[in-house]
Symmetry: C2
Subunit: 301 residues, 2 copies
């Protein structure tokens, strides 16, 4: 775990090794795969699907997935454009579970163009046929098949034809009450612990945090029931939520994410399964879905 | 996700339901299993194996596992008793990975009674025969068999006879450099994100955070390489580390943990697999190891 101390030595060792020989004797590392990947295997967040959530400590970038939850994503665009989210707050942080934000209960806020209840979109009927999917080779505790759909973690069931986005660290889901149609996308949460896959197909999942996750994870845990903050002043204010499409192109966040359907993703996945970095003396030979989300980086250059 | 709103109604519904009828129509919830569990199925942390780590925001309780890493646990007792840890610091917080603490590199601190290098204890040879084990019923991406050993998450391989503790949220591992024998238990880390199981059998795992995890997770993420803090003043000081055995019994933390070998654990596990809480409209019917760690609670009464 103390890799930092060794980086100069490691760099020296790599510089001394003849590239041809290295290629013969070992698999590339995940970093080497990404460094060699063509720019065409990456894509920028889709502006019409991307939220910029402004917190006091910085910006969180969330990409929404209309392929998995079209009605919720459409409603959330409306909420952003009517500035419904501006002035809401992080109301709950439950350790090893979720950070949740929305309008505090004591101050309900009516909607203008958006709906305050939507039919659930827990799975995509016919998603096995309609959605892209790169399957993972290792078994999963929860679903018959898991993989990556575009840039999102997903599962599917060939018997029913359904596909769904899975609860992994950093995915964004729609808060709801007991009624399955009580969510709207006004109240949202992200996973901040070991991925709680038991929530799959029980909640509508709408997207993934691509950047700035630390602004939602390094927050004091709430001491109330389920991690809700007990005092209003403990909440973190959400200054605004803006669709990237409504920001001038030059002012958009300069990040991109590896496509789950690209050749580079497949190579990166295999490099992660067979870690050849010097530290990994015994490559696992396996990987689980929530450790295999397509990587995100600042656009180089 | 908005259970708080519904708790009064839920309590009312449960109060109105005749217990006999409820028992006929559904499985108990995880909470019901724990509420009904006999006290004998719980145990207190073993004082000789338990660290109290004092941070500015409060106490972290770690139980060490001599069954998995006897030499490291013995060395760590010595480090605590010679006050080696007092005045060290949290030096690294990498989002979705680890929080790491120890002596900052620029100020090495010699040891008196403890060793500064130990042979690795990545697995327990013969652990299949020697260690208690309650297997989990669902498949695992990484190991042929996973389950709970005492209060710890574990995996094992019947072909080699080895068992090992697995990297789950809140487990504590031994930092090392590239050399496998370069760790000592002076530098430690805990998992603060989706469980990085690729580290299994690559690092010595020594224990589990039982209480106060939030003091290690709600910290600013480091902005240096691998999440190391770039400035000394960003580090969180560790005031002291004390073995619970060296604290008067009356002053020890009043917590206990469900034994993984108890009947209540088996019932709780099944209740978690088949969640019958009203929110879980579609019980997963499965669970993965890192979502199945034996629960910890304040000793009631």
């Amino acid at each position: 775990m103390h890799l930092a101390r060794c980086l100069p030595l490691l760099a020296l060792a790599l510089a001394l090794a003849a590239p041809a020989q290295a290629a013969e004797t070992r698999h590339p590392t995940p970093k080497e795969v990404l460094d060699a990947s063509p720019l065409a295997d990456w894509r920028e967040p889709v502006p019409e699907n991307t939220f910029y959530i402004e917190l006091p400590t910085g910006r969180v970038v969330v990409e929404l997935a209309p392929g998995f939850a079209p009605a919720h994503v459409e409603n959330m665009r409306k909420l952003a454009r009517e500035h419904w989210y501006d002035g809401t707050a992080v109301v709950r942080v439950q350790d090893n579970y979720v950070t949740q934000w929305g309008m505090p209960e004591e101050t309900p806020r009516p909607m203008k163009t958006a709906k305050d209840k939507l039919a659930p979109e827990f799975t995509v009927p016919g998603g096995v046929a309609s959605l892209p999917f790169t399957p993972l080779p290792d078994p999963d505790a929860f679903a018959p098949e898991v993989g990556i759909s575009d840039i999102f973690p997903a599962a599917r069931d060939r018997q029913t034809g359904e596909a769904w986005m899975t609860h992994c660290y950093g995915i964004v889901g729609v808060g709801r009450d007991m009624a399955v149609d009580s969510g709207s996308g006004a109240e949202l949460y992200t996973v901040i612990g070991h991925s709680p896959r038991a929530l799959d197909r029980v909640i509508t999942v709408v997207g993934r945090v691509l950047w700035g996750m630390e602004h939602l994870t390094a927050l004091p845990r709430g001491t109330g029931n389920l991690g809700f903050y007990e005092k209003p002043e403990q909440r973190t204010p959400i200054k605004s939520v803006t669709l990237a499409a409504d920001v001038p192109a030059a002012a958009r966040e300069k990040i991109h994410v590896l496509s789950g359907q690209s050749a580079s993703y497949g190579q990166w996945l295999e490099a992660r399964r067979q870690r050849q970095d010097d530290f990994f003396i015994r490559p696992a030979g396996h990987i689980d879905l929530c450790n295999a989300l397509p990587p995100v980086r600042r656009i180089p250059g």
